[in-house]
């Protein structure tokens, strides 16, 4: 194999070098983009330029699915085979793609043109089966400082031809999705004419008290929409009061929970709204830098957020002394590289710091010891999208919708056997029946068998739960999670054993391997459920799944392991006959 010309890489590395190890992921993205894979020689150059030990660089390359240590096809076709896509024929699509290009799954074609891979959830569950086609990279950052980010064309195999709106976005009232049309991003100008940026002018422009801002957020009852439902105001207050040289606000746009695509739709449709929320959060805690960590597969969203940041800089909303104040603030996009675990907040910090995405032991918590060891607030995209509403229209207006304990609206991601899959914005407290039947047209292909609520880390509901109101308090009382807003529907024809095996495969693929319960438990759970799906369950499997499941739930180090058995354990309660006792 001819030796690569290192010149272009070395000039990129020279620019990244002052950041040291923290520039490792951007450097590897650049290397991957320039040479198609990361050879030993290229990895050595990266290690040398950034001052990172060779073995550590290799460890990072090996951790992330989108970095390759050996040649891959010039085009990489990633086909999602997780739950929602599996229902709609993704295994067949994967077989067909392999046949068409004459390859075995995961291998490169003889002419070096194609690699076909099985991919974890691509966040296109509403357009299943989903495909992600790797393309030459895009540049992000300021023009003279640009770095590479992965670029791909993501589409559903059943998307309408000719670029028509592919994401169905509905519900009522549409407060945070009002500008999302599934086609193109709302510009800053559009966002402003729809009432956007008022909160930034009101709070940052007039230099109003951050403490007062935080008390508004606390009074609004806003909680995190990524799944954990932690009160946002309390998180902000913790970081505001924490002592540290520098503070950070991080946008967690690493959406990867199977069945979830709400953050993608928001970032693709109305990126300025999310960024305005982040700016207000940064101001509240005294941060001058925002990191927007976006999953590497969300190429369209990365490009649109990058454009939005450019528009905000141009208009004086980002940079030095924003909106006439003496407060300075900027945003940097960081592209992930294919690791669900990096949606876990501390693993995400490790990833920005140029390391393998291993979650940290908590405590200490991010509000005091976060990114680079500094006080950090990390919020989900949907959470941040709600902040401008609260701070421009007031707490009372925000609380006029939803319930006392779950105020405002919520985004639900409907996929699977449903007539109209899509993103639905509804007030907290509507029933599952309303969402599924009145808004989404009901079940496709037969009677309702089950609904997976909250994602792969969620739990199954059945027809008896249709009248449960979708609020934190009502769902908790029914023993169901809201999670990230996933509503994945399964009709009576579906084999729930196969569905469970697919969820288990996801976790086995995405476990980071740090703590024993999850590292081995996700694998053992997958092996058992594979034989359950194949109708070859062995005596004792029910108890094995319980032991493995509860060990992961009770003893894992982070939220991934603690919820990796959640859906499976709920399925065992509903359908014990699927597994041999």
């Amino acid at each position: 194999m001819p030796e690569e010309d290192l010149k272009p890489l070395l000039s990129t590395l020279a620019r990244l070098a002052p950041e040291g190890r923290a520039a490792l992921l951007p450097a590897l993205h650049a290397a991957q983009a320039m040479y198609g894979y990361i050879s030993e020689r290229v990895a050595q150059a990266v290690a040398q330029a950034l001052g990172v030990p060779l073995a550590d660089v290799y460890g990072v390359i090996e951790f992330y699915s989108m970095f390759y240590d050996r040649p891959v096809g010039r085009s990489i076709l990633r086909i999602c085979t997780d739950a929602a896509c599996q229902l709609r024929g993704s295994e067949k699509a994967l077989d067909e793609a392999c046949q068409r290009y004459g390859v075995v799954e995961g291998q490169m074609s003889a002419d070096g043109e194609w690699t076909v891979e099985r991919a974890p959830c691509l966040g296109l569950c509403n357009r299943a089966p989903a495909v992600n086609l790797g393309l030459p990279p895009q540049y992000i950052g300021e023009p003279e400082q640009h770095v590479f980010a992965p670029r791909s064309y993501a589409y559903g195999l059943r998307d309408p031809e000719g670029g028509a709106a592919a994401d169905h976005i509905a519900g009522n009232p549409r407060l945070i999705t009002v500008l999302c049309n599934g086609v193109k991003a709302a510009s800053l100008e559009t966002y402003i004419s729809a009432g956007g940026m008022r909160a930034v002018h009101k709070w940052i422009g007039e230099r109003r008290s951050p403490a007062e801002l935080i008390s508004e957020i606390k009074a609004s009852g806003l909680v995190g929409m990524g799944g954990a439902a932690f009160p946002t105001g309390i998180k902000w207050e913790g970081a505001a009061n924490a002592v540290g040289e520098t503070k950070f606000l991080v946008i967690n746009a690493d959406e990867s929970e199977p069945g979830t695509f709400k953050d993608r739709v928001l970032l693709e449709g109305d990126p300025c709204r999310v960024l305005e929320g982040a700016m207000l959060g940064a101001y509240a805690i005294g941060a001058h830098k925002i990191y927007c960590y976006m999953r590497g597969e969300y190429s369209l969203a990365i490009g649109r957020v990058n454009d939005a940041i450019g528009q905000l800089r141009e208009a004086g909303y980002l940079g030095k002394n924003i909106v006439g104040s003496d407060y300075s603030l900027d945003v940097e996009i960081r592209a992930g590289a294919g690791a669900y675990i990096c949606g876990e907040e501390t693993a995400l910090f490790e990833s920005i710091e140029g390391k393998r995405g291993f979650p940290r032991i908590k405590p200490p918590f991010p509000t005091t010891h976060g990114l680079f060891g500094q006080p950090t607030v990390i919020n989900n995209v949907e959470t941040l999208a709600k902040v401008p509403l609260i701070l421009s229209d007031g707490v009372a207006a925000f609380r006029s919708l939803g319930t006392e304990k779950s105020p405002g609206t919520k985004l639900f991601c409907l996929s699977g056997d449903v007539i109209q899959p899509g993103l639905y914005e509804v007030p907290f407290g509507v029933t599952l029946r309303h969402l599924l039947f009145d808004l989404a047209g009901g079940v496709e292909g037969g009677e309702l068998q089950a609904v997976l609520l909250g994602g792969a880390a969620g739990a199954f509901a059945t027809a008896q739960h249709l009248d449960v109101r979708l609020s934190f308090e009502d769902l908790r009382a029914a023993g169901l999670p809201l999670g990230s807003g996933v509503v994945m529907v399964f009709n009576q024809q579906r084999s729930m054993g196969s569905v469970m095996a697919s969820l288990a495969r996801f976790f086995a693929h995405e476990s980071c391997g740090k703590c024993y319960p999850c590292q081995m438990g996700t694998q053992r759970q997958y092996e058992i459920l594979q034989r359950v799906a194949a109708g070859r369950s062995q005596p004792g499997d029910a108890e094995r799944l319980q032991d493995v499941g509860w060990t992961m739930t009770d003893s894992s180090l982070c939220g991934l392991g603690q919820t990796a058995a959640s859906a499976v354990l709920s399925a065992l309660r509903l359908w014990p006959e699927l597994v041999a006792q």
Partner: protein, 244 residues
């Protein structure tokens, strides 16, 4: 001014009151109280990472089990070290280990298996982590089929001791293994053959090459001929009586 006297923390472990210095972990506290809490990855001279979760204990009021090696003792805590929940986790972790890794050279873990009535055959048809033995230097061999991923070797090679950074990981999840840069032979890495990794390995995955060769039944002279440089061998033969 800081107090020169450390603050005392009062807690109850398995019904027994214990006083420990502020900053003590639950593992410290349990040991002080004479309670046996099992560990695998923990090592007194390595950074505790809370990986193996064998040391989990039940703290009243906590939703999850707490890893004793990293959880700090707090005033008024009530801790249980051997509840049914705790035992289920420990037993299942041991059973999963036995179904993944060759524990034949790990007597401590075998002892724990007996103590917790863990069944090594619990998981039929489980895929095991099998790797060929790596014999790429005269000092030690690497038999990663026996590796329990305690991370000690990676840590002592890095900031916990030697600052050599020859070792890290390949892959992730169940497929994780300890690796050098692009799986290069140890002679081609930054390894300085300090031997600290071999010293901290709990399962015989890293072993002195001499020991390994002796275990295969090889005679002492042959072992030395394979593990010494030519110059050393020559010197030795010059001093061997009857060799003039």
């Amino acid at each position: 001014m800081e107090d020169s006297q450390p603050r005392m923390i009062h807690l109850v472990i398995d019904g027994q009151p214990v006083d420990v210095n502020e900053g003590a972990t639950l593992l410290d506290a349990a040991r002080q109280a004479g309670k046996e809490v099992p560990t695998i990855c923990y090592h007194d001279h390595c950074t505790a990472n809370g990986l193996c979760r064998m040391c989990v204990v039940e703290v009243e009021g906590a939703r999850l089990l707490s890893p004793a090696c990293v959880a700090q003792a707090a005033e008024g805590m009530t801790v249980h070290t051997r509840t049914a929940r705790v035992e289920r986790s420990r037993r299942t972790i041991l059973e999963m280990l036995a179904s993944s890794v060759d524990l034949s050279d790990a007597p401590e873990i075998q002892g724990l298996m007996a103590l917790y009535s863990a069944d090594a055959q619990r998981f039929p048809d489980a895929s095991r982590r099998s790797h060929p033995v790596i014999d790429d230097n005269p000092m030690y061999i690497r038999d990663y089929s026996k590796c329990v991923l305690c991370w000690r070797c990676v840590q002592v090679c890095a900031e916990d001791a030697q600052y050599t950074f020859a070792l890290n990981f390949s892959k992730r999840g169940y497929e994780t293994s300890i690796a050098t840069f692009y799986d290069k032979g140890m002679m081609e890495t930054s390894c300085v053959f300090c031997g600290q990794c071999v010293g901290v390995c709990p399962t015989g995955a890293l072993k002195p090459k001499r020991q390994w060769l002796l275990e295969t039944g090889m005679g002492a002279e042959d072992v030395l001929s394979q593990t010494r440089s030519k110059a050393r061998r020559k010197r030795r033969s010059e001093h061997t009586p009857g060799n003039d």
